[in-house]
């Protein structure tokens, strides 16, 4: 019953929308890649990163998570380029770069 939101692209016709614009199913926000909106994205220098996890809780879009005891690779699908992670990193392992 889950709505396939990949079928709701910007060029879908009026009769291809869901009824009343309702969305069925949970966690559909995960599939909606708001990261496409960003003009800058963070880049991490793995050599500098000390896995202190200061960046983990401040990301508003949960792009930086802890997995198996270490900081996992950045999932930038929902990153909007706010740069808070860069701001809090104590060892300057993160920097923002222009995104396409």
């Amino acid at each position: 019953m889950k709505t396939d939101i990949s079928k709701l692209s910007l060029d879908c016709k009026w009769n291809e929308l869901t009824e009343g614009m309702q969305i069925y199913g949970s966690s559909t926000s995960v599939e909606f890649k708001t990261g496409e909106w960003a003009s800058v994205k963070p880049v991490i220098d793995e050599d500098k990163c000390i896995h202190c996890f200061m960046c983990v809780p401040v990301c508003p879009d949960s792009c930086i998570v802890v997995k198996d005891g270490v900081r996992a690779p950045l999932d930038l699908n929902h990153c909007k380029g706010c740069g808070i992670c860069v701001h809090v990193c104590p060892v300057d392992a993160l920097r923002m770069e222009g995104a396409k």
């Binding site: 910007l10 009026w14 929308l17 614009m21 069925y24 199913g25």
Partner: protein, 393 residues
Amino acid sequence: MSRRDRLSGNEAVAEALRQINPDVMAAFPITPSTEIPQYFSKLVAQGKVDSEFIPVESEHSAMSAVIGSQAAGARSVTATSSAGLALMWEELYLAASNRLPCVLTLVNRALSGPININCDHSDSMGARDAGWIQIYAENNQEVYDNLCMAYRIAEHKDVKLPIMVCQDGFITSHAVENIVLNEDEDVKNFVGEYEPENSLLNPECPMAVGPYSVTNYYFEAKRAQAEALKNAKQVVLDIAKEYEAISGRSYGLFEEYKMDDAELAVVIIGSAAGTTKDAVDKLRAEGKKVGLIKIRLFRPFPADEIVEALKGVKAVALMDRTESYNDTCGPIGADVTTALYRAKSDTLAINYVYGLGGRDVRVEDMEKVYADLQEAVDNGKVVNPYRYMGIRE
């Protein structure tokens, strides 16, 4: 099969709601619709219905609560008039765009100002673009029957839109008339259970209702909504046919009274149609070929069918019980004239504003309207197509 009683329009609505037994009523009082939640809350207190009654702090909250409960999967209803409807204006659009088949029993009353508690159609006409299905009644029998059919129309899979069941304030809502009621079992079976495909209170499939939509989607969303309203017309006819089988009373998109060979006609909504029928009978007895079309389904507007009904009519009076303040026409005037223009009809049309703030409509007034129509036919044209009836000028 049926039983006879004598009830006011509001009592008839309360009786229909008792038989329908909706899940939720959220309402705020306003004259002349107050009696509806008043009688219904008494039924709730007496345990005669299983409904949840939510006494809210305003009509804005009433419609908000109805939208919430309807989205949750509960058959919901509210009642209001005039300024109460105006206060729920933003929610009306949401109930429709969210495709929630709730019911609003509207008791037509003039919008302020000046403050007036009597009947006119400015309230429901002011909301005619909100995307709701609008059905009007001439008397208590019709409002009772319309309410029995309301949920079946609104909940139909091709429609799923909210519906406004209207009756004239005081004239219908408070006047006691004879009425034929269906048996409880017949209404219960006719209306059936509400089984929404999706609802908020369904743990198997969580859902989001009423999202934000960027410019890329809004226009298409509104078009999809318009399609549902289009479908409502046929559904209204189909449900009426089914209802005839259990009640013996038949309904259509509008009533045609002595229209067969009519050369002069009046198009009107509500209780004044009854007065007009007296005028028609009187003039017919004098040999004049006059008739009446009483609109029942106003939204969506049955344009093609009205054009068909007006074929052969030389002049038609379009009666609006509201002032649209556009210096041109009223709502019925606009919709019928548009339909006639597109059909390249040569029927002359005079639009009248009448009955505002409960201004009485008399048989003589309607006889004068037919005389005006005859004058227009004799002159071959309409001088002043936008007039006021029953006003001191």
